[in-house]
């Protein structure tokens, strides 16, 4: 009998569920892969290059900032890969690669490292990067190219390979040459806003339209969201709340004037709303933790998106809506503390 048993002291609980941060993040990456694959399929090698550049700059930026701040490298936790992929997916397919690299670097630096890295970022880092390039390169970020061009797997969109620190060449002429059928380079949101043309829901749902690299197919985005929700690696309330908020806000306007204002289904399926609702508003770190808080947060984002779209100068409002939602989520947290078991009142005791 071994009485010299080597025992260790630990504090309870002595059992642990096996899901780790890395696993959660890796599964989000898995859920994003089909979205990336469809983006490459729809827009060709330019998007492949775009996603590669954003992901690489994010990963390298994370490694660099960890080293600079003297922290152990957090590249292995996969969260930065999500940032890189998401950033690439929110950019126009022909976005110049050097600008994408700037966006990636800003996403990590301003969006994440500045706040202290994973767990401390106030806003979704990918959207911080995108917001930066939206302000810095207003033309490039609103230059859209049609999906499913004939030569997309053999030829880069000319703007993609713009020389660093140079303005991209205009692509209109190139599109006119490359285009063989009726696919339009204008995004459904722009068509609706400026020409009151409603793209059919079926096309929006399957992703037959122009738009940011990864936002076009609602179907594939929803499939990724269902996967994550089923594995409890995403709060299902967030996409549901965002979509609900958007639908409910757009409904009265559409009922008032169905020519000027889009129908709720179009609102849900067009632009980046689906991608934002499923993959970006749901960023765990930047969203509230209590169910009540999550509802408030997600409904706010959905409603704000529609308000920006309908009344703002921009055609799309998802990005700013989510960033604002992120910004107010600490505020939401203070008013939505859970009602403690057996307590009469909700929230903090004062």
């Amino acid at each position: 009998m071994d009485t010299r048993l080597k025992i260790e002291l630990r504090t309870s609980p002595h059992l642990k569920q096996t899901v780790t941060v890395e696993q959660i993040m890796r599964n989000v990456v898995y859920a994003l892969l089909p979205v990336c694959a469809f983006a490459v399929y729809a827009f060709g090698i330019s998007v492949l290059a775009l996603l590669t550049v954003t992901t690489l700059t994010c990963v390298l930026g994370e490694a660099l900032f960890c080293r600079l701040s003297g922290k152990p490298s957090t590249v292995n936790d996969w969260s930065i890969v999500i940032t890189g992929l998401l950033l690439g997916l929110t950019l126009p397919p022909g976005f110049p690669l050097w600008m994408a690299a700037v966006a990636g670097f800003v996403a990590v630096g301003l969006g994440k490292a500045l706040f202290g890295g994973l767990g401390y970022n106030v806003m979704n880092p990918a959207l911080v990067g995108r917001a930066f390039v939206q302000a810095a390169f207003p033309v490039a970020i609103t230059t859209w190219t049609p999906a499913f061009l004939e030569g997309r797997f053999t030829e880069f969109i000319p703007s993609t390979l713009t020389f660093p620190f140079m303005q991209p060449p205009p692509v209109d002429e190139w599109i006119a040459q490359a285009q063989v059928d009726a696919f339009s380079g204008a995004t459904p949101l722009a068509l609706q806003k400026f020409e009151q043309i409603i793209t059919p829901a079926g096309e929006l749902f399957t992703g037959m339209t122009a738009g940011s690299a990864g936002e076009t197919s609602a179907l594939i985005i929803l499939a990724g969201g269902l996967y994550l929700a089923a594995r409890r690696m995403m709060d299902w309330r967030i996409p549901v709340g965002v979509l609900l908020g958007a639908a409910l806000t757009s409904l009265p306007f559409w009922l008032m004037d169905s020519v000027r204002y889009p129908d709720p289904l179009f609102v849900l399926l067009s632009g980046g709303l689906m991608l934002g609702a499923v993959f970006m508003a749901s960023d765990m770190v930047a969203s509230p933790v209590t169910p009540q808080g999550v509802w408030l947060y997600s409904l706010f984002i959905g409603a704000l998106t529609v308000i920006i779209r309908l009344f703002g100068g921009l055609t799309e409002g998802v990005m700013y809506a989510i960033l604002l939602g992120n910004a107010i989520s600490p505020l939401i947290a203070t008013v939505t503390q859970p009602r403690v078991f057996g307590a009469r009142d909700r929230g903090p005791r004062t």
Binding site: L5, L9, S12, P13, H14, V340, R349
Partner: protein, 446 residues
């Protein structure tokens, strides 16, 4: 999840589903453990004031004889677990940490397991106060793990009127099956104990709650109950911590104990099945609590089982009897969710030790996983049975804002079930943070 739980009665909201590991021992009948050569009986193995030794070193004691008396209402006496001689009364290590004044008994070789020291009485003729006194005299404490003196719970504060006795047969801790075996093997003693306590409390209703992973126990009990009688048995959902008294009351009756209050505030008294079975067995004979059933289990144990262990048996003796594997590296007294890992094998089994779980290196490999920043996944928020916000509490603890935790975020409602730490993907030792915060707040208040 929340909605599903609301639709489905017989459970509470939130909680977790750890792997049960009960199959290791749940079919093994209770076996008697031989006497260890030396038994260590701490004078403080219950909540409240320590007992006062009645014996001196060198004095002979008979199995069942009182060896220490209660030092007030919030205290219980101790009885000799075996016939032998008092070797010393000295400070000895205990599982709880600090050394405690203990009576060390050298057991006579070949001494009998029979309890010779008894005082039979007719419990059915006793008044409520006499029963409560008898329960205190038996040294009874909450055998589910709380070690709260049982007789104190039988006298609820006068401003509360208790209408229901809730009998806790949940045994929601993984690995543990001692209550399960007891419900199967000592059903009559359990029911006798329930009737005695019902009389003492003056309640007309008793509800036995058993997790639905022990349907054989539910059936065994139901088979001995009259239909529509005062005692009923209910299967509740298998979910940790179903056996926490506030959760069980909510599951069975839909009553929520107000924060900071005892169950009597909603008219309920909760007793563990093993406590009641011992009351049923001991009171008529006038015996004291000198042994209890302990589940010995875990991958690190060669012969897992349920053992009837004399109080005071050193853990080392129990472990040698059950055998350990070379890879065993952690020894827990109690269950793995709320139990304490011991630093020394010389600590004794006390009245409230329901299990001894030995884990192997490969079991949990908690040591390997590093602590990462909170990613606000909210798993803990959805796990906390008290509906606290462990995520925010954890962030506050890291900033050492202990008073804010208590004053604004209900820290003191945490009963340290461990659900939050269990689910945390970032491996943050949340419960430990909360224990520290509470301890520091207590120190500041003192």
């Amino acid at each position: 999840m929340g909605i599903l739980n609301l639709l489905r009665r017989n459970t509470f909201e939130h909680g977790i589903h750890p792997q049960e590991h009960k199959e290791l021992t749940c079919r093994l009948p209770i076996r008697r453990l031989p006497f260890a050569p030396r038994l260590i009986v701490p004078l403080s193995q219950h909540t409240g004031a320590p007992a006062v030794a009645l014996v001196r070193p060198g004095q002979e004691v008979v199995r069942g004889e009182p060896i220490a008396s209660a030092s007030g209402f919030m205290s219980v006496p101790m009885h000799a677990p075996a016939t032998g001689v008092v070797e010393s009364i000295q400070l000895m290590p205990t599982a709880r940490g600090p050394k405690t004044e203990s009576i060390v008994i050298r057991v006579y070789g070949g001494s009998s397991q029979e309890v010779l020291y008894d005082a039979p009485r007719r419990v059915e003729e006793m008044t409520a106060d006499e029963i409560i006194q008898a329960v205190q005299d038996s040294g009874m404490v909450g055998l589910g793990g709380a070690a709260f003196p049982t007789h104190v719970k039988m006298k609820p504060p006068p401003e509360h009127s208790v209408d229901t006795l809730v009998v806790n047969g949940c045994e929601c801790e993984p690995y543990l099956t001692c209550d399960h075996r007891l419900m199967l093997e000592q059903t009559d003693e359990l029911l006798a104990g329930i009737r005695i306590v019902m009389r003492a409390l003056g309640v007309g209703r008793a509800m036995i709650g058993v997790e639905d992973n022990k349907m054989d126990a539910v059936e065994a009990i139901a088979g001995r109950l009259e239909a529509n009688g005062p005692i009923s048995v209910h299967a509740v959902q298998t979910k940790y911590p179903q056996g926490a008294e506030k959760m069980l009351i909510d599951s069975l009756l839909g009553r929520r104990v107000p924060t900071g209050s005892f169950p009597s505030a909603v008219g309920v008294s909760v007793f563990n099945v093993s406590t009641l079975a011992q009351i049923g067995a001991l009171l008529p004979k006038g015996h004291g609590v000198i042994e209890r059933v302990v589940t010995v289990s875990g991958a690190g144990v060669r012969n897992p089982g349920n053992y009837l262990v004399p109080v005071g048996t050193p853990v080392r003796y129990l472990l040698e009897f059950a055998g350990s594997t070379p890879r065993s590296n952690e020894l827990i007294l109690g269950g793995p969710m709320m139990g304490m890992s011991v630093a020394s094998l010389d600590v004794p089994v006390t009245k409230a030790v329901s299990g001894m779980v030995v884990l192997e290196t490969s079991d949990a490999d908690l040591g390997e996983r590093k602590v990462q920043p909170c990613i606000r996944c909210a798993y803990c928020v959805e796990a906390c049975p008290m509906h606290l916000n462990p995520s925010t509490l954890g962030l506050l603890a890291a900033k050492r804002e202990y008073e804010k935790m208590a004053n604004e975020f209900h820290l003191n409602d945490c009963f340290e079930c461990g659900c939050c730490s269990y689910v945390c993907p970032a491996n943050i030792p949340l419960v430990q943070y909360f224990r520290i915060a509470k301890a520091i707040n207590r120190e500041k208040a003192a």
